[in-house]
């Protein structure tokens, strides 16, 4: 077990975005959180990565209670994540993005001035090859297409030292060809022993990719299991097809 969230609650004003969410993620597996839009998947990611403070609940990462840490402290412990809406530094180049990602702390001011630019091009080339982003390193993030930005975002998350990779809708809005190539990248990463937690609202994408699925609806996990179990679970269909909450069997 690498990550465990217990009984997380989080409300925004009157909206209960997360309402008693509990799940655990196993090492070296690909785990997916699926669920309809607005079910709280992204909010859970933000809670885990400390961008949002939960109202209650605890989080363990690598056997350590990380509930009280700051966002950047947790990141240094080894969580790497992407955002649903790709977040990049618009005035920096691909090389600069990846260099920032690879160095795992704040640069020391003095040594940084004296040494000047660092150029570990080899590591950069490796991640670029892995995600299949074929662009010169000096390309600015703003000059990339959406698909390329998505790949750079993934490359950054991979380049950052980590033991858990958290991807928020890694294939949202990308064309079918890129979808399948991203799927292959994730398989490749997993075969190298990476632990991956990803969010996806399209059930079909995860079926032949992941080891374990958590289904979220209305801020909590309503079902979990291997992909086949989830596919045949009536509660999941209920959540996706939008049955009325009171009638559902799943709310007990």
């Amino acid at each position: 077990m690498i990550l465990s969230c217990r009984d997380i609650h989080k409300s925004f004003g009157g909206i209960r975005a997360i309402d008693g969410c509990t799940f655990t993620v196993e090492k070296k597996r690909i785990t997916a959180i699926i669920g309809p839009n607005g079910s709280g998947k992204t909010t859970m990611f933000n809670v885990i990565s400390k961008l949002i403070k939960p109202d209650s609940g605890t989080i363990d990462f690598n056997g350590r209670d990380v509930t009280g840490l700051k966002d950047y402290e947790l990141a240094r412990l080894g969580i790497s994540r992407t955002f649903q809406d790709v977040k990049l530094f618009q005035n920096l180049t691909i090389r600069e993005h990846l260099q920032i990602a690879m160095s795992d702390s704040n640069e020391k001011l003095l040594s940084s001035i004296i040494k000047g630019k660092n150029r570990d091009s080899q590591n950069i080339q490796e991640v670029m090859d892995l995600v299949g982003l074929d662009k010169t390193f000096d390309t600015y993030a703003t000059d990339l297409s959406y698909g390329q930005r998505k790949l750079l975002d993934l490359a950054i998350a991979i380049a950052k030292p980590h033991s858990l990779l958290m991807l928020d809708e890694p294939v949202a809005g990308v064309n079918p060809r890129l979808r399948s190539s991203i799927k292959e990248i994730l398989r490749e990463l997993n075969s190298r022993g990476e632990s991956i937690l990803l969010i996806e609202h399209d059930m079909n994408f995860v079926m032949d990719l992941v080891d374990h699925i958590f289904v979220m609806d209305a801020g909590r996990v309503i079902a979990e299991g291997a992909p086949q179990e989830i596919q045949n679970n009536p509660c999941v269909l209920e959540a996706y097809l939008g049955g009325s909450e009171e009638e559902s069997e799943c709310w007990k």
Binding site: L88, F89, S112, I113
Partner: protein, 291 residues
């Protein structure tokens, strides 16, 4: 000498302002720290250096102390304003420059208030006292070159890239494990340090300072130069400083009566700023958009 006395004077001001403008650009342009209080650092540096030198401290020590003391205020400014955004941040940093202005005016026991501080000694460096303006020009050129070189190294180093990343997307940088608050502190302190150095050079050149030397009109001038030159461009800041500080010289050649000189200068600054914002919103050499 090659230059007329007046030209020498203008060049000295240009080099002093280059340090001030580049240091503002480091915070505002490179790190994205909106700061309408930058001139306060300049004033703090000028007063610190003048008062310490009058107490008998050697010039170089007084100048470094000026930078360090301004840095302390840079640190305090980040503490006070870190949670603010947008208009509130603008108001708070502007407020900071008012606070410093009124401290300079009202802490009469230390600053002599509105009477200002006369008789600030010319710098003495290793037994050599700078007396003529030609000598001072060489001295400020040297300090300016060193300061700009250091700031240039900073913004082009891996640390500098973290500053730019903080400006572009602080949240994204934090999830990569970087402490953006500490980066902001460092950026603002470096920025304030060099503004303080620049204030010291100014005080010991003019030899008389009072609180009005560090007020709103100076602030507008410095902001104009940074924006005209371009956010996030040291080259732009240098070129724009030279251009804009040189304007009074051009006006002087036109032989205008002195009563219209001041207003004419302000009007020209405004025209330049508006023209630049219309035809080149990113400034002469800038790459970063104004938000």
């Amino acid at each position: 000498m090659i230059f007329s006395a007046y030209q020498t004077h203008i060049f000295i001001l240009i080099f002093i302002y280059i340090i001030l403008v580049v240091s503002l650009n480091l915070a505002l342009g490179y790190t994205g720290l909106l700061n309408l209080g930058h001139v306060a650092f300049f004033g703090i540096g000028a007063y610190t250096s003048a008062l310490l030198a009058l107490e008998g401290l050697t010039y170089i020590a007084a100048m470094i102390a000026a930078g360090l003391f301004a840095s302390v205020f840079g640190y305090l400014l980040v503490i006070a304003t870190d949670r603010l955004r947008g208009d509130y941040l603008a108001m708070a940093t502007l407020g900071f420059s008012f606070v410093v202005y009124s401290l300079l005016l009202n802490l009469r026991d230390v600053t002599r208030g509105a009477m200002g501080i006369p008789g600030i000694p010319k710098p003495t460096i290793l037994d050599f006292t700078i007396r003529t303006n030609d000598q001072y020009l060489i001295f400020v050129l040297l300090v300016c070159a060193i300061s700009v070189f250091i700031m240039y190294r900073i913004v082009n180093s891996p640390f500098g890239k973290l500053l730019e990343a903080t400006r572009d997307n602080a949240v994204c940088l934090r999830v990569l494990g970087k402490n953006t608050l500490s980066l902001k502190y460092k950026a603002m302190m470096i920025s304030a340090f060099f503004a303080g150095i620049s204030g010291s050079l100014y005080a010991h050149y003019i030899t008389f300072i009072d609180p009005t030397s560090f007020y709103i009109s100076e602030l507008i001038l410095v902001l104009t130069i940074v924006i005209v030159g371009g956010l996030g461009s040291i080259k732009g800041s240098i070129v724009a400083t030279a251009l804009i500080i040189y304007i009074p010289e051009v006006l002087r050649m036109l032989d205008l009566p002195s009563s219209v000189l001041g207003p004419a200068r302000q009007a020209i600054y405004a025209v330049i700023l508006i023209t630049i914002l219309m035809i080149r919103p990113k400034g002469l050499f800038g790459k970063v958009d104004l938000e």
